[in-house]
Amino acid sequence: MNVSFILIILLFGAFATWFVGDKWAARAALIFSSAAFAATCYILYRFNVVVDPKAVASPELKLGLTKLWLNSPRVGFIFRADGMSLSMTLLTTALTPIIVYSSFGNLFPKTRAFYALIMFMAFAMVGTFLSGDGFLYYIFWELSLIPIYFIALLWGNGDAEKRKKAVVKFFIYTFAGSLFMLGAFIYLYQKGGSFLDTALYSLHLSPKEEMWIFLAFFLAYAIKIPIIPFHTWQANVYQKAPAAGTMLLSGIMLKMALFSIIKWQLPIAPHFAAEYKYIFVGLCIAGVIYGSVLALKQTNLKKLLAYSSLAHVGLVAAGAYTLTLDGFRGAFLQMMAHGFVVVGLFFAAEVIERRLGTQKIAEMGGIRIQTPKFASMFMILVLASVALPGTFNFVGEFELLYSLAQCNIWFAIVGGTTIILGAFYMLRMFQQVMLGEQKRVFADVTISEGVVFVLIIAVLLFLGLYPKPLVDFITPQLKEILSFINRLN
């Protein structure tokens, strides 16, 4: 059994979900996504436990997959089983059942298509994380765009015309970015004769080439993350997409770009990255401030969460661009933490919207009196989001700020203020949404909704108190990447 098994389960699950029909689609999706999660856990177990002490092959080789696909250009089905890719796969396969389960409360038209698209999207995203071949990686990267486009277009909320505009803008933006990345990959292939990640790392590019390659990658990732000034698609799409779509986008999909910065962009063009790191870290920090300031002014709950997400991922990207081990590690930890928190928060927004039918903060309030359980769970998520010590987010955010301090103390200071800003707008939001006089009747959370919150909170608290296994798991490979980056040409 190797990592491709996860992909097969997810792809098969997508088709199965489609074919079992509307009635059973949701349950089929839940079963198959959970199976994928179980498979991931099993592979992680095999990865960490040496099953056969006499085995020569390292776990990377044993659990990975290398098969030739196309002869010319030389492209292989190359899937890596290493710390980076497996941790992100774990994030995806852990969140997918949660996202599927969280949609049980909604009644969608064309149910089977909806769940099949979610499964297909999970498949494409896992593929992106696992690919060790640039061409294969690009194919998965693009494949993930189609399901989210349809999910946001067909099951989104709000005015149909405005939604179409937002979604098409999103598609064209990201498609544009990725095409430039494709150009960069083709250039690298023509230069080195291989799409293999390790082969691309060891290419000798001239400074000018490195610059263009770096910028082409940057365009693709900056649009996806998003980093200002490429963020204009984000808030609208997050607001207009259905809850599951927003969760997929913010919880997993944008991590594809953050992951790719560390996996592809920095090791391929390290010298340019090192020379101009202040510019890119600065740009990301600017995004952090910008997101926080805009979040202060929002009156729409989903938009507020979207801008706060913009600020958080800006910090992650900044950490990655510092080119330090702490930055990378912080980025990975924060990616996972942010994935869980943001899914939880958007789900909370969805729970409120299901009952009150609005996203406007002004129309909410007085929820805590009626459902103290929900309010407490929401509170924990809010606190995790502002990186309270003891939650998983604190670990990541701390490492990120530490790496910024290694880069330049002012970055850390400016970046650190966002925690204060974040605490301010998140707590104010909590106050307005949850506290106050009872305005409208608010039914208690159902069991299935409660399960989702409890699962997310359990993960956040557990890893907040004991992040060591995860840290140990990803550190060796991040060190390896860093040695590629710091090589003397």
């Binding site: 494709l182 292939y189 023509q190």
Partner: protein, 491 residues
């Protein structure tokens, strides 16, 4: 040559069958016959250079070099035959109101196919001219094949006038080349061209180029295309935008490199500019269209632009393979798209986008097929269109990186950037159609049942498209490896 004869004979059989009142047998017999010829062509294409089929010499240079059946020619021939099978399969339902004419329509398509095959197998300029005329005249007739429809008449007339001018250019070009080299034979012309020719050889060459750029509807010779595409009956539009366009493009590339293997820098630059203009203008104007046929016409113009990128080559073999792959991906996706357009707009007088509203609800299968074919044309991975673009881009960048001067690299990057920008623009209108299908409400009038043939063609074409996306080697094996043309002309 036996392929040409077989197909022409099949056409004549169609006409005779009508006399003997065997109308029902026409389409099945034609399709079976074409499938047989297709199989034969594929086997020959794979085995070029090897003498495998019972003593038949497969070097192809027979008939005084009139026909050269090398890999390039055979691979493209098999693609044309495949496209014709689809087009013939669509015919009976499309012409169900003109049953007596069915034999004519099918026969004309078969003659058109002979023209297309002659266009890629020629070894002599007279054969080339015959091919292009057979192809064009068949298309003039098909364009005007709805005599009671003013638009169809307009389309036929326009196409005929403009096409006649283009043929004039081509003929004049051939005459000048004959004057310069004293031969119609391609190999002889090439030898003379390498040895040095008088100035009017170049003039003749450029006139040939202009005529062929007209046929493939590249900017600035594209002005006829939208009107003709819109006015012609939908099935004819499908033929023009897939079979005819691809055939002309294949002929153009073969002609350019077989007459003059060392194209001058200025010529290549001109082709590059035409390619960029075609990509950008085609896609920009397509954004504004509300008629699906017109939209696909402009999209076809931009695809011609992408195909023209093939002139940036480092090795003729791989360039031919890339062009073939792109042509196959584009035309098969086009057939699938047109099969859906035919089934949606067949009963209606127009092809406006609103006809597609809500197709995702009323007929999910066709909507899915159209979505896939549009995604393929837009170049989204796993569909063949993506690999087509990928191969083209690779080729351009390979040329740029291998270039000795910095200018070569700059040219390559400029071309790629324009190609990327125009791909992004194209998403705008492809998605307009997708959005109409999925997020708008159906018009309410009852949908007619879609004929089986339309559905079958649509599904088979899109499955083929996906299959060659998964296994590009499926198509490339027809054309890769050493080719006669390579041995003949690149020494």
């Amino acid at each position: 040559m036996e392929i040409l004869i077989a197909i022409a004979a099949l056409g004549i059989i169609c006409l005779i069958a009508e006399i003997f009142n065997l109308r029902k047998a026409i389409v099945p017999v034609t399709i079976i016959g074409l499938i047989a010829v297709f199989g034969y062509t594929v086997v020959r294409a794979v085995n070029v250079g090897k003498d495998v089929i019972g003593g038949l010499a497969i070097d192809g240079t027979k008939y005084f070099n009139m026909v050269i059946a090398d890999k390039y020619a055979l691979a493209f021939s098999s693609l044309f035959i495949l496209l014709t099978i689809f087009l013939v399969a669509l015919s009976p339902d499309f012409h169900k109101n003109h049953k007596p004419k069915l034999s004519d329509f099918v026969a004309i398509k078969l003659f058109l196919l002979t023209g297309a095959i002659a266009l890629v197998t020629f070894g002599n300029l007279s054969m080339f001219f015959l091919g292009i005329e057979i192809l064009s005249i068949a298309l003039y007739v098909l364009a005007a094949s709805e005599p009671k429809n003013v638009k169809s008449n307009e389309a036929g007339m326009k196409y005929f006038l403009m096409g006649a001018f283009a043929s004039g250019f081509i003929l004049f070009g051939i005459a000048l080349i004959y004057g310069a080299t004293g031969s119609f034979d391609v190999a002889a012309i090439q030898q003379a061209a390498v040895a040095g020719t008088p100035k009017w050889f170049a003039i003749g060459f450029v006139m040939l180029t202009i005529g062929l750029l007209f046929k493939i509807a590249a900017v600035p010779f594209h002005l006829w295309a939208p009107d003709v595409y819109e006015g012609s009956p939908a099935l004819t539009t499908a033929t023009m935008s897939t079979l005819a366009k691809v055939a002309a493009m294949a002929a153009f590339f073969k002609l350019a490199y077989s007459l003059n293997p060392v194209l001058s820098g200025g010529y290549i630059t001109t082709i590059n500019i035409v390619a960029i203009l075609s990509m950008i203008v085609g896609n920009l104007v397509a954004l504004k269209q509300t008629n699906v046929k017109r939209m696909l016409a402009f999209s076809g113009i931009s695809h011609a632009g992408y195909m023209l990128l093939v002139f940036q080559l480092t090795s003729l073999t791989s360039a031919q393979a890339n062009l073939f792959y792109y042509a196959a991906a584009y035309s098969i996706a086009g057939i699938a798209a047109f099969a859906v357009v035919l089934s949606v707009c067949g009963g209606k007088g127009n092809q406006e986008i609103y006809n597609f509203n809500g197709l995702g609800k009323t007929n999910p299968l066709l909507a899915g097929v159209l979505t896939c074919s549009l995604l393929s044309m837009a170049g989204i991975p796993i569909f063949a269109g993506f690999f087509g673009k990928f191969f083209m881009f690779s080729q351009v960048l390979q040329k740029g990186i291998g270039a000795t001067s910095a200018q070569g690299l700059t040219t390559a990057i400029v071309l790629i950037v324009f190609a990327i920008i125009s791909s992004i623009i194209s998403v705008g209108y492809y998605f307009k159609l997708i959005i109409a299908m999925y997020s708008k409400e159906p018009a309410g009038d009852k949908q007619e049942a879609v004929p089986f043939a339309y559905r079958a063609v649509a599904v088979i074409a899109i499955v083929l498209n996906l299959a060659i996306g998964f296994y590009p080697d499926l198509v490339l094996s027809l054309i890769r490896r050493t080719m006669l043309i390579e041995q003949l002309f690149l020494k």
